[in-house]
């Protein structure tokens, strides 16, 4: 690692050989404007927006492809540089359509942003603009607008270098150059949505998000994707208390800059539908609304009288919730069967780039918290179907939503003498329950998930739960209390610090240390999993 010293805008910088100017400048807080450069893709050098002045070099140089040199003196704000940025902006806008009022990118468009920061001049172009395809559906998730495209080729390079699926190419020459799919093909690979993120302009936009809401109205909450146990870092972006979209957050230890399509859109299924807003209890004729006191009392009585017990927790419940659930169930029945929902499926090569084969983001955390007794979820389900249990407490999963063995499971559930279901909707499973408790989904929770590789990451509350629903951890604390165990903690932060004392792999970890990038459990050291 050869050390190099150079100057950028008069500031002396110590760095290492092999880095390029744009990286090093960013490290000291100097953001050189750019379009085609992306830290995870090969260098294209075609936008020319990052041209900077280097003393003793007659021509301006692109910062993205200039390796740092000993004694280099770089100017990013000289008159020449400021002038060329205006010139490049003018060139990029020559054929750009005045689409801002109808373009989803408005508010997060790099042409708009750089115009405001570096240009603020009118265009002198007074000729006929070139036209291209607009609103071309590339695939289930991506729409293309050729006129807005600035040919930075980030999308082409993404499919060449990251997914290696090569669906997109630049076709034609000169100012007829455009991005295209081969005729009769569809852009539907499992990571296709990422090009919407990396497109700096509104050329590639998200079909799901199209025209939903202006981005400046969005509230952005850092959280973790609940899709699978990879635990991709996301920004949950909401408007009027509803999730409008997911965007990936950068975390080099987990998902780098990317998010898979399944995860990106999973919030629809996980949060939609009519919400439960009152506890319900089974009486003659069916399930009727009741009070929390009555419901929780019925739960304890019912479970105590229905041994042996099984407890099934959703993979989307947090460590804090899992910790309390295990404590509660073991108090009721020390040898009860406890498992976290876990099913695997085959993944394609492209899916394997990001995805894990399960749909249980916190299966590892839950198991480490004690929701693990019977050697696995499938064996427990088999035992359930063999009528091994008399009572069951099912949290956050619709067991009748599983495709296989639906009839077996239904019969088994109906045979139970007591069934509690805690969920956000009246699922098919809930319809068979004796008591139904309304709870929250991942977007309404604060807490932690531990991903497949042992990384502990934080969820934050992005939307407020409907009135009448109660947080899962609160339900468990109340039940523990009613069962005779009063705990000293009540918030997720307090619960985490408590569990850190009891669970060996989490010893030494504190809630505050988790931050927005997470921390590694186990030996407590941060490792780069991906």
């Amino acid at each position: 690692m050869d050390p190099i010293k150079l100057t950028i805008d008069g500031k002396e910088v110590a760095t290492t050989k092999g880095k390029n100017l744009i990286e090093v400048a960013a490290e000291i807080g100097i953001d050189i404007p750019h379009y085609c450069y992306h830290p995870k893709l090969s260098i294209a050098g075609n936008c020319r927006m990052c041209l900077v002045e280097i003393e003793r070099m007659p021509k301006l140089q692109i910062a993205c492809n200039t390796p740092v040199g000993e004694g280099m003196s770089v100017l990013t704000q000289s008159p020449k540089v400021l002038a060329i940025r205006k010139a490049v902006m003018e060139f990029l806008l020559v054929n750009h359509p005045v689409d801002c009022p109808i373009c989803d990118q408005a508010g997060e468009c790099w042409l708009q942003d750089y115009y405001m920061q570096h240009d603020l001049q009118g265009s002198r172009f007074q000729e006929r603009k070139e036209h291209d395809r607009k609103r071309e559906v590339f695939g289930p998730n991506v729409v293309f607008d050729g006129e807005r495209c600035i040919k930075c080729t980030r999308c082409v390079r993404f499919f060449q270098e990251i997914t290696r699926t090569n669906e997109l190419a630049v076709v034609n020459r000169g100012d007829h150059s455009t991005i295209a799919l081969f005729p009769d093909t569809v852009l539907d690979n499992p990571l296709s949505g990422n090009v919407v993120d990396i497109c700096p302009v509104g050329a590639l936009t998200d079909r799901d998000f199209r025209f939903k809401v202006r981005v400046w109205y969005l509230q952005k909450t850092p959280s973790i994707c609940p899709g699978c146990s990879t635990g991709c870092n996301v920004s949950v972006e909401t408007y009027q208390n509803r999730i409008a979209r997911f965007k990936p957050r950068i975390n080099e230890a987990v998902n780098s800059h990317w998010l898979c399509d399944e995860g990106r859109y999973c919030f629809h299924d996980l949060t939609g539908g009519e919400r439960l807003n009152t506890p319900m209890i089974r009486q003659e004729g069916g399930l009727v609304p009741t009070t929390w006191d009555k419901a929780l009392g019925a739960v304890l009585n019912g479970l105590r009288g229905a041994m042996p017990l099984a407890g099934i927790l959703s993979g989307r419940n947090t460590n804090e919730e899992a910790f309390l659930f295990a404590k509660l169930m073991k108090r009721l029945s020390p040898d009860c069967a406890l498992e976290v929902f876990y099913q695997e499926r085959e993944l394609s090569e492209v899916q394997k780039i990001l995805m894990s084969p399960d749909r249980s983001p916190n299966f590892r955390g839950a198991r480490e918290m004690g929701v693990s007794s019977n050697g696995g979820f499938e064996p427990l389900m088999r035992k359930l179907c063999e009528s091994h249990f008399s009572g069951a407490y099912v949290v956050g999963e619709d067991l009748l939503g599983m495709d296989n063995d639906k009839d077996w499971i239904r019969q088994a559930l109906q045979k139970l003498s007591f069934l509690v279901v805690q969920d956000i909707r009246m699922t098919e499973t809930a319809q068979l329950a004796h008591v139904v408790l309304p709870s929250t989904h991942f977007g309404e929770k604060e807490g932690t998930y531990t991903n497949r590789n042992g990384r502990v990451q934080k969820l934050n509350v992005a939307t407020i739960a409907p009135e009448g629903a109660m947080q899962d951890h609160e339900i468990f604390i109340r039940l523990l209390d009613a069962a005779g165990e009063r705990v000293s903690y009540s918030t997720p932060a307090e619960i985490f610090d408590a569990l850190a004392n009891e669970v060996p792999a989490y010893r030494g970890l504190t809630y505050t240390a988790i931050g927005e990038q997470g921390i590694q459990s186990g030996d407590g050291q941060d490792s780069h999993d991906r």
Binding site: N46, R48, K59, L60, V94, K151, G174, D175, S177
Partner: protein
């Protein structure tokens, strides 16, 4: 003047090995491959002062010396036969009439950098020339000048004739390499440079046809003999392609430093049809035009033409008489560059077409006040800010025509029509 490059072309069947051999052909190659080390060869070519004849004029020996000798990667030698610069047709003449000189030069260049695979990238339109080259390569292979253990020297080299498919930009060396790699003719960002990361990321040298064709003579007669011709910094001879409003168009070989006016008036017979000279482009369509009053002291060498505000380039001399509408001429070239821009980087992709649109509007009689300043400004914004020199090639002539014929442009705008008539 002793002809170097055109020494064979007037001999019947000069393109055959039989004739080429009978005139001493391939004996310099034999000498090189058997008795001269690559290092010595590079030194000899450096000493000759030979500079690249494609347009850039870079010292050939120095270019070869940038290839790292101990690189474990295979090295590639490429002969750039993609001649597409407007006004240039000298390489075509050599290809059709003296292909063996090109092949012999390519072999020497390959040997100098210890490459075992040489390509001749020829533009696809030159079908006749490509066929001749392929036949010549076959002849040379059969005679043992190409292939394995050449003439018992232990050196191997293969020569592959590769045809382009219609793109001026593929004459730019990194675009040529992109094309040769089986892709779009997109120039590559530098660094890295072709000498270390060229074809397939391996050390590569690209030389022009005319540059390579000079090598056999240089080896046969010695670097000093070559360096004795020409001027202090522009050594040897150069081929000039003369076209346009000239009495005797064609390819001429001159010693570097030959007076430009003398060349036009005497050797080329002066402006055709008894008309007067209005302007001449000295080095191919990318180079700034020169007015007659600017030609007095200009000699045909790199330094003299540069001092006059233009560049020697490919030596494509385009002559325009006083019936030429300079607005239309400028538009014609702007249209050429707009058509040939590869479209990769923003100043060239958008700027070339922008300039073409403005020129066209002016030419059609719809010019506006401020148009000329705008073209000059756009041209200035393109220059030096693109991935490759194509941007400069498009920008320079646009600016030069306006600067040199400003009054005519202004008249054309004011009168909304051409005030001269073009042939």
């Amino acid at each position: 003047m002793e002809k170097i490059l055109l020494r064979n072309i007037d001999v019947p069947d000069s393109h055959t090995l039989a004739v080429y051999s009978s005139r001493g052909g391939y004996r310099p190659w034999e000498e090189v491959v058997k008795n001269i080390t690559p290092e010595r060869l590079i030194e000899e070519v450096k000493a000759s002062g030979l500079r690249g004849r494609g347009g850039a004029g870079f010292p050939t020996g120095m270019k070869w010396s940038f290839v790292p000798k101990d690189s474990p990667k295979p090295k590639y030698m490429v002969c750039n036969a993609d001649e597409s610069e407007p006004g240039t047709f000298k390489d075509r003449l050599l290809i059709e009439k003296d292909p063996h000189a090109i092949i012999e030069g390519t072999l020497m260049a390959a040997y100098a950098i210890q490459s075992h695979t040489a390509f001749i990238y020829i533009r696809g339109e030159l079908v006749f020339g490509a066929n001749i080259l392929e036949r010549a390569v076959d002849e040379a292979t059969q005679a043992g000048y190409i292939g394995k253990n050449i003439l018992g020297s232990g050196y191997d080299v293969d020569v592959i004739v590769h045809r382009g498919a219609g793109a001026y930009i593929c004459g730019e060396e990194t675009a040529l390499l992109s094309s040769l790699e089986g892709g779009r003719g997109w120039p590559k960002v530098k660094p890295p440079f072709p000498a270390t990361h060229g074809l397939f990321g391996c050390p590569t040298v690209v030389n022009n046809v005319e540059t390579l064709a000079a090598l056999p003579w240089i080896i046969e007669h010695g670097a000093a003999a070559y360096a004795a011709i020409g001027t202090e910094k522009s050594k040897g001879t150069k081929l000039f392609s003369v076209s346009g409003h000239i009495s005797k168009p064609g390819v001429y070989e001159l010693e570097m430093g030959y007076p430009f006016m003398k060349f036009l008036q005497e050797d080329c017979g002066g402006v055709s049809n008894g008309r007067k000279l209005k302007g001449v482009i000295p080095g191919g369509g990318s180079m700034p035009v020169l007015r007659p009053d600017e030609l007095e002291k200009v000699n045909l060498d790199y330094e003299s033409v540069q001092a006059a505000g233009s560049l020697l380039g490919s030596g494509g001399v385009i002559v325009m008489d006083d019936a030429t509408c300079m607005v239309r001429a400028a538009w014609n070239l702007a249209r050429f560059f707009a058509h040939e821009s590869c479209g990769q980087c923003s100043p060239c992709r958008e700027g070339c077409h922008w300039m073409e649109k403005i020129f066209h509007r002016i030419e059609q009689g719809e010019g506006r006040k401020g148009d000329l300043e705008l073209i000059l400004n756009v041209s200035g914004n393109i220059m030096g800010n693109t991935i490759c020199p194509f941007g400069d090639a498009a920008a320079m002539p646009a600016a030069a025509f306006i600067k040199k014929y400003r009054e005519e442009f202004e008249e054309h705008i004011a009168q909304k029509r051409c005030t001269v008539r073009m042939e």
